[in-house]
Symmetry: C2
């Protein structure tokens, strides 16, 4: 795509398309793939030794993000396919690191295409919310809410996401603050506590 910067600071680019298999939840023509393995999740799970056993047993993929990136500037919209694998770390379901946006007053849309789980959300003030994720459910993560997805199913949890391209990601505060609640497998079913 061509790209030139305008006086307003928002790049002019040509229109384009991406192709998404809406049944499988796959972006077939992505140009950037980001992966997080188990080893990148240190500090996030309650059972640190269970995570270390997982890392030692091959350090499997935890989640992946597929994109065709656009300029990270006001007016552009970043979008991606987020794919979170199923599994447990001790009693705790696989989850993403979770983040605030660096520009705190920007939100995000998650349109779930596959799998089942929860979107956990929290604010700096200690508010907490959880929304169920399943195919066809769109979760609105409003401005100011940190967000983390949790896969409580047996297949991958896959969502189409869209957010302000200038938003940025702040992972550090979640590493420091934690996330108020965890999703654990108890008696064979997911429990938020």
């Amino acid at each position: 795509m061509s790209s030139t910067t305008t006086t307003a600071g928002t790049s002019f680019i040509d229109p384009f398309s991406a192709t998404i298999d809406l049944a499988e939840g796959v972006m077939t023509d992505f140009t950037r793939r980001t992966e997080r393995k188990a080893s990148s999740m240190r500090g996030h799970y309650a059972d640190a030794s269970a995570l270390e056993r997982l890392v030692a047993s091959g350090d499997p993929l935890h989640y992946e993000v597929f994109e065709k990136p656009v300029p990270e500037e006001y007016g552009h919209l970043m979008y991606c396919i987020s794919k979170l694998y199923p599994g447990l770390v001790g009693e705790e379901y696989f989850m993403t690191k979770g983040h605030y946006h660096s520009i705190l007053q920007t939100g995000e849309i998650y349109l779930c295409l596959r799998g089942s789980g929860f979107m956990l959300m929290k604010t700096k003030d200690g508010c907490f919310a959880a929304e169920k994720m399943e195919r066809g459910r769109m979760v609105y993560v409003p401005p100011y809410w940190a967000h983390r997805s949790v896969n409580t199913g047996t297949e991958s949890l896959v969502s189409f996401c869209a957010y302000n391209a200038e938003a940025g990601h702040n992972y550090g505060d979640i590493e420091t603050e934690g996330f108020v609640k965890r999703v654990l497998k108890a008696g064979g079913v997911p429990v938020i506590r």
Copy 2:
């Protein structure tokens, strides 16, 4: 949902979900529905008398937009299901009015769920682009590009859309400028000219 305005001018609201049937392309729990009938499309089609015959024969629905609105402020993301009915006005396929965003440097994402057609796009400088729309195809409408969808199929053309909530809609400039090219049925197939 609760809503309070922060010092930054972006409302704090609680997270929520919407439910979208990804096969049918229906938002089952929308709270706002906007409709455009044939009579609201005057001035847009080449064959004005064909449009008047359509208006006289019951003024059918042309397209509908389904939403669960959020505050129209920076940081929020508006989203909707857009449903454009199939049909012809003379030789010209049913289309939306088309618009620039009032804040010109904001883009939009269209994730097509059903049907087939084109997204026509143009700039103030006279650039023109067309992207095919069909299930699973995501069209990126970049900042500065006016956009109009055209249904060249036999069923409704349905997309999930997302854009900056503060973007606004500017329809007037398209009424004045037109859209560079039209999509006509010629020899039984769609032709852009």
